[in-house]
């Protein structure tokens, strides 16, 4: 089982990214909603094989459930058309809207599932590293990595400041105006102190030769393996097959 978990996880990040693009493209090439919805399950299988099923499911449900429900609501119930599919009490489910919702939501599901899977089986760090190998400017890398580290830090600090302000009498419960007033005394000190640090951080970076312009050495690097070449070949063949399917279905009609 551990060998299966590593198979996808250990692929080079851009290989996996190409995989995601191919999957999404295929959802738009292959006609109909059934294939696109099935992508959700295919990705779930891959997630299972890579040991990331739980997080995959949690995030996909969070992202998609309400959205899809709303799409169906908007399209099939609220936009009237001539034919009616069902009647639930006094609510009409219109046929055109329903099928439109089905198509639209299926593409969304395919798109979202593929990307969510990608970020379950690829760490951001590795992904950025692979982009750097392709020529991404190290300053961009720095900004991204620094942001990823800074977000949880500042969220924590916000919590601390928020507690401190509460003990000083800033009310956080009550009507909307009371709550709105609590926003500023927490946000502003946090923002100002974080911004003040950036200047000294700039000096720190300069002291570490950040602007030296030399080609940076990297102590950690990731490499492509034979598996990556195999994967790319499979993906390209798959995409061609999808295009073929589409062409055939068009000719068929």
């Amino acid at each position: 089982m551990s060998k299966r978990i590593d198979l996808v996880n250990n692929l080079y990040p851009t290989t996996k990214f190409i995989g995601v693009i191919v999957i999404i493209l295929s959802a738009f090439i292959v006609p109909g909603w059934k294939y696109s919805y099935s992508i959700f399950f295919v990705c779930a299988l891959i997630a299972l094989g890579s040991g990331k099923l739980k997080s995959y499911l949690i995030i996909t449900v969070n992202s998609l459930l309400v959205l899809i429900l709303l799409i169906f609501l908007m399209q099939s119930i609220l936009i009237p058309s001539k034919e009616i599919l069902y009647k639930i009490g006094f609510i009409n489910v219109y046929k055109d809207g329903f099928y439109q919702a089905l198509n639209l939501s299926s593409k969304l599901v395919a798109f979202t599932s593929a990307f969510i899977l990608f970020f379950r089986v690829t760490t951001v760090k590795d992904f950025i590293l692979s982009l750097e190998n392709m020529g991404l400017h190290p300053k961009v890398t720095y900004v991204i990595m620094s942001t990823l580290q800074l977000i949880p830090e500042m969220k924590k600090e916000a919590g601390v400041i928020s507690d401190a302000q509460k003990t000083r009498g800033v009310e956080t419960e009550g009507n909307i105006f009371v709550r709105a007033k609590a926003f500023v005394p927490v946000l502003i000190p946090l923002v100002l102190s974080s911004i003040a640090k950036t200047e000294e951080r700039a000096i720190t970076l300069e002291s570490r030769a950040f602007s030296s312009g030399a080609k940076k050495t990297r102590l950690y690097n990731i490499k492509k393996t034979r598996n990556d070449t195999i994967a790319i070949i499979i993906l390209v063949v798959f995409l061609i097959l999808c295009i073929g399917w589409r062409v055939l279905t068009i000719w068929h009609f």
Partner: protein, 285 residues
């Protein structure tokens, strides 16, 4: 020619109304240890920024005069060259970590990676530095989980790994507890023994008395005193200028007032000698 020379420097920041430092002439030889003291606002940090080449290149502002390092004008150094020639450590340990490395090991390697040095060299240097600074036990820790004192030592290590000839250190212990302070000064002493040229801004006057050979006293942007530590530190002008003198010197003055004819001490060792001389009746009253 001196190793580090500041000639006729006047400088002000873009939003300053008047010169922040003026008429600065300093000559520092290789391997010397100079302390800079002065009350808050006297221009010490600005002087550090000038020596490291951050003023005016980073801070902009108006700059007159020349800074010569190792026979070359500082303006002719590239950013990378400046970083390898002159190390810079300052007060706040919480902003001196890169923010993108997850272990102390990687943090120390960061500067060397930026210089594009060979991988094996970098690894050797990091190992060497971890042992030199005595922080090997921290090597796998996340820099964000370190205490202020630990972070400051990691900051020092990261700079020292780049092997600069000159170290400019601006109040490194102001935010640290006595234990942290002691450890930082151990590192500074190690660097002194390795022959590095050191410029240190500090308020802790007893520590300056112990470690620094020479001292510059700044007041309102100008140099008012300079010379060997043991001579300058007993000068009562320092009291007037809110800088302070070592408690050993204060003791010395008290003893003199009581009639003991002694040299004013500036360090613990000197004052112990003097007191034992007095006890053994070797001093005339």
């Amino acid at each position: 020619m001196a190793f580090l020379e500041l000639k006729n420097i006047n400088y002000k920041y873009p939003t300053s109304e008047d010169w922040v430092v003026r008429n600065i002439d300093i000559k520092i030889e290789k391997g010397e240890f100079w302390a800079i003291v002065g009350k808050n606002g006297s221009g010490k940090t600005t002087l550090c920024n000038i020596m490291r080449g951050f003023a005016p290149s980073f801070f902009k502002g108006t700059f007159e005069g020349e800074v010569i390092v190792d026979n070359k004008n500082l303006n002719d150094y590239s950013e990378g060259e400046k970083a390898t020639k002159i190390g810079f450590v300052f007060q706040n340990p919480f902003v001196q970590i890169s923010g993108v490395k997850e272990t102390v090991y990687d943090e120390i390697a960061f500067g060397l990676e930026n210089l594009g040095l060979e991988e094996q060299y970098i690894r050797n240097k990091v190992e060497e530095t971890l042992k030199l600074i005595d922080i090997d036990y921290l090597r796998n820790k996340n820099p964000f989980e370190l205490s202020g004192g630990q972070r400051q030592r990691v900051a020092l290590a990261s700079i020292i790994a780049m092997d600069p000839d000159i170290l400019v250190i601006d109040e490194p212990t102001s935010q640290l507890d006595p234990d942290g302070t002691e450890k930082v000064f151990e590192i500074i002493e190690t660097m002194k023994n390795k022959g590095k040229t050191i410029i240190l801004v500090e308020h802790k006057i007893e520590l300056i008395a112990e470690y620094a050979d020479n001292i510059i006293v700044l007041d309102e942007g100008e140099i008012i005193l300079r010379g060997e530590t043991k001579d300058i530190l007993k000068n009562k002008v320092l009291l007037e200028k809110e800088i302070g003198i070592p408690q050993y010197s204060i003791l010395g003055y008290e003893l003199r007032e009581r009639g003991f004819n002694i040299d004013i001490p500036t360090t613990e060792e000197q004052s112990i000698n003097i007191i034992s001389n007095i006890m053994q009746k070797k001093v005339i009253v």
